[in-house]
Symmetry: C2
Subunit: 234 residues, 2 copies
DNA sequence: AATGATTTGTTCGTATGTATT
DNA sequence: AAATACATACGAACAAATCAT
């Protein structure tokens, strides 16, 4: 106020703008602090056909994060049986109201919330893969477990969009409630060897500290190395 | 103000929040209007190895958009020769200050600004592919032209991040200047058959009206059909 | 073409509430 | 309990863009 000969309200407005731009962060009762630049966490969405590495889910993300010297942890899965809403039904090509198994997980990096992931499986899969209904983590990963049970993942399709976080997400990620910081939402539909949709996985990441990489065609191996701290761009 | 017995400033603050959430949009002197939901434009980032379709650049995006009944147009390229900054140099694995060819384009859908795309090539490429220096559009697409000149694109890597738009982008896309609506920035580094980096393409899209799709492994052909209006999710 | 009404944008001064230290 | 700092609200004035007359 003294420096710019402006009123408190004006300074407040300016600080709000800086907060929108991500330059500062305000904490009620504590103060306003310049944001420290966080190196984005890099997730590779494509699978390397040779090594099988990548994909950004299950065990792979743990390995990918660990490779960058960070520690990845996952909550126990929240396993539910519910009826498919229009969104889930459309993605899995089943009828609305059909029962599905949902397995939700909270994922942390270095103890800080990193992403929210929920997978939906047609309930009929449980006949051949009963452990989908267990409330324990499937240590080898559900993709490996399903393959073991004869359900191979032949491919998948990701749809990536950016949107305003909902209440759940602002709470979990500790984001401001006014939607200044957005989230990246990735819908992954996995297909089995017959082209049947066996899984829908929805993963939500805060947009400001994540980066996503996809490799297409022949990319030099040296560049396939996972670097969670990518010094390029920005 | 009458309905909620609140002051103008309070109502203004509320409207600002609604604008941040994307519910309304204010136009100076005209009024405040509820936002009409726009169906996102879908861009497929992966290339179908069989058909060669996809990739989201050059001719492909025109075809992809046309398939959804919209019309795609592109400005004449803004061709420049400039020195590589740290970002470009790192992406192309060249020294900072090395001369590069930049070709920038503004891309429109149905006459409305859709994306900004700039490609950078090492200037040494111009020996074998002199038309890179022409200020005309390369109608068959630069990827096809380079292949014709013996420089094949064997693969590419995309890095996707979300950030606040700069002045250029808010002007071009007609976004609010306070960074409420963010942009998706995609860095694409293309490799030739020897694993050499031949191109860096940076494409910027407004985050609120675009969706990106990637296909990995075997995805049913029926699902490869491009749908610029995807009724799933949201 | 000019003017006034309407609407959003910006700033100020002031007061009160609430979380933190 | 007091001081500090952010959050919310009110009333007022003026600027700037648009629109109707």
């Amino acid at each position: 106020m003294a420096e710019y000969h402006a009123s408190r309200n004006t300074v407040r407005g300016a600080i709000k703008e800086l907060a929108t731009l991500g330059v500062v962060r305000t904490l009620h009762g504590k103060g306003t602090f310049v944001t420290e630049h966080v190196n984005p966490i890099v997730t590779t969405l494509t699978t390397d056909p040779e090594t099988g590495a990548g994909g950004g889910e299950g065990l792979v993300y743990t390995a990918e994060v660990a490779a960058s010297g960070r520690s990845a942890t996952t909550s126990e899965p929240d396993v539910r049986i519910q009826k498919a809403n229009a969104d889930i039904a459309h993605s899995l090509r089943i009828l609305v109201g059909t029962e599905v198994i949902s397995r939700g997980e909270q994922r942390y990096i270095d103890g800080r919330p990193w992403s929210l992931q929920t997978s939906f499986y047609p309930k009929s899969l449980a006949r051949r893969a009963p452990r989908l209904l267990d409330a324990d983590s499937i240590d080898e990963g559900t993709v490996a477990y399903l393959r073991e049970r004869g359900i191979q993942q032949a491919g998948y399709r990701d749809a990536i969009q950016v949107r305003i976080p909902d209440k759940n997400e602002t709470d979990y990620f500790n984001l401001p409630a006014d939607g200044r910081i957005q989230v990246v939402e990735i819908y992954r539909v996995a297909f089995d060897q017959n082209g049947v949709r066996v899984r829908l996985t929805i993963t939500v990441y805060p947009a400001d500290r994540n980066r996503f990489v996809i490799n297409v065609g022949r990319v030099p191996i040296s560049d396939m190395l996972i670097k969670a701290v990518d010094e390029s761009s920005g």
